[in-house]
């Protein structure tokens, strides 16, 4: 599921468009298939709109259906025929590139950005854009200075994106990275409290939680000043990080991308083991070894159909398991299961007590790498971005049963 703040932003922007009549009589397209686009599709359906197609540049996705909507290439649409009766809605971070691509294809209508995922980019060299970006940079330099003052002498690591797996890899490789850089003290700047909690699993690194736009601006300042005591730890954000281009040629598992590409390690390298766990306060409510924890929700992953989880839950209940659904915020437990909401640092105790964890492949699976129980990761059948690698190839985890969910999925634990 999208982060609530982003979903709210999307909903508000959509409602504004509707109120302004911008979608009146328009044939609607969405551009860029991803979790957020599927959520937008659901929102539009709920509001009574029909979607003509989802545009996507991925050859492997074209021809597939998502939410019963055909995925097609932008080039395959006869845009002239629509005149200005078509509108394209975008909720990915590639709004600028997509907008430009449509313009180059002769798209006569309007493209709308419903979520601002990418404050780094604006495809313009106009004086107004440069002035605006200069102001953003100046703001970022103030934020960076504030962090330097708060943590004098600390090496600064910036994690631009709130995906828990990315934070896990950063924190897990940090001891070696700091040693190689000759640094002793480090502060990690992250975009959410949950990310902070992932950092805390690995030790007493101070973590500074910054609102996303502030974090982005500080990262821009790092890029601009080439600050020698700061590092941006991510495999494809922001735009200056080009590591993902290698994936067009070769499949490189995510852990390797971080170890070799991001941190530049040579030779053997292993993730540090997180040790700062806590026992869940209600472990006594979980039947030891005869319970299962389902984790169906993830922010940055396309969701699996709910019936997959219901069928799994039914099967487990029939087999005598006590079945929990890990939920956070507004997330609903799968029918027939009990909601459970442990903190990140309590999850290990919960799944070890239960004995079985089945989760959609997400950052939570990385966090549970060292948990001593049966662990299953379910992979939606999708390709990593527009590469030819399936998610299961990129994200497989040792110690887990890694299972792809395709048509006719019938796997049972």
């Amino acid at each position: 599921m999208m982060e609530k703040s982003k979903h709210d932003e999307m909903t508000q922007n959509l409602d504004r468009l509707i109120a302004d009549g911008a979608l009146q009589g328009k044939t609607l397209f969405l551009f860029g298939h991803c979790n957020a686009t599927e959520e937008l599709a659901e929102l539009l359906f709920y509001k009574g709109y029909r979607i003509e197609a989802i545009l996507d540049n991925s050859l492997t996705k074209q021809g597939m259906l998502a939410k019963d909507i055909q995925i097609v290439s932008p080039e395959s649409v006869n845009w002239e025929a629509y005149q200005d009766n078509a509108a394209v809605l975008i909720v990915t971070r590639f709004y600028e590139a997509m907008s430009r691509q449509l313009k180059n294809l002769g798209f006569p209508g309007k493209t709308w950005k419903l979520v601002d995922y990418n404050t780094f980019s604006e495809y313009s060299l106009s004086g107004e854009t440069i002035r605006r970006k200069k102001r953003r940079l100046e703001y970022g330099q103030e934020v960076l200075l504030g962090i330097k003052r708060k943590y004098p002498g600390y090496f600064r690591v910036f994690c631009p994106f709130p995906a828990l797996g990315d934070i896990y890899f950063t924190a897990g490789f940090l001891p070696r990275f700091l040693k190689e850089r000759g640094e002793e003290r480090c502060v990690i700047c992250v975009p959410t409290r949950v990310c902070e909690k992932v950092v805390s699993l690995f030790g007493d690194y101070p973590a500074e939680v910054l609102p996303q736009k502030e974090l982005d601006a500080a990262i821009q300042a790092v890029i601009y000043t080439q600050d020698t005591h700061s590092f941006i730890a991510h495999q494809d954000r922001p735009y200056v990080v080009q590591l993902s281009k290698a994936l067009y040629a070769k499949e490189i598992p995510l852990e390797e991308i971080y170890a070799r590409g991001v941190f530049g390690f040579k030779g053997e390298c292993a993730l540090a083991v997180p040790t700062k766990w806590k026992d869940y306060s209600y472990l006594g409510d979980i039947h030891p070894g005869r319970a299962a924890v389902l984790s169906p929700y993830a922010k940055s992953v396309v969701a699996l159909p709910e019936e997959i989880w219901r069928d799994l839950a039914d099967d487990l209940v029939r087999k005598g398991f006590q079945v929990f659904t890990n939920v956070f915020g507004d997330e609903k437990p799968i029918e027939g299961t009990v909601p459970i909401s442990p903190e990140i640092n309590e999850m290990k105790s919960v799944v070890e007590r239960a004995g079985l964890f089945i989760g959609i492949r997400s950052g939570l699976c990385d966090i549970l790498r060292t948990a001593g129980c049966r662990k299953v990761a379910l992979y939606p059948d999708y390709f990593y971005c527009d590469t030819k690698w399936k998610a299961i190839e990129m994200y497989s985890i040792d110690g887990f049963e890694n299972i792809a969910v395709g048509d006719g999925f019938s796997w049972r634990p």
Partner: protein, 124 residues
Amino acid sequence: MAEEAFVKDPILTVLEEDLLQYDRVYLLGEGIDFGKLARAADRSEKKMIFYFPENLCAEEEVSCFPAYRRISPEQENVILNLYRMYEFTDNFHLLDADSRNYGNLLNYMESGVLTAEEVYEALL
């Protein structure tokens, strides 16, 4: 106080024109093997132009590239300042070996994940 009027440096006008004419525009920095890069560019189907700062290399080192521009240190600074301020297009990139502030594709070559040929093709 009124903001200063923006005066666009002429190199940015050249850059805009190149971005229209070419699929990719690359600014070269330190640590790149020009021979390997030129061979990768030769194999690519994309139309690209390379900007070489005058103080980076001699003219004869870059003549193997299909399209290039020699730019002055001042022009290089203008472009780099903009590139480091925001992403003004995804068709322009700085190619260098610097990995002080973030990961670099050349790291894959040094660790053996990719061959040199694979890395230089990925750069483009």
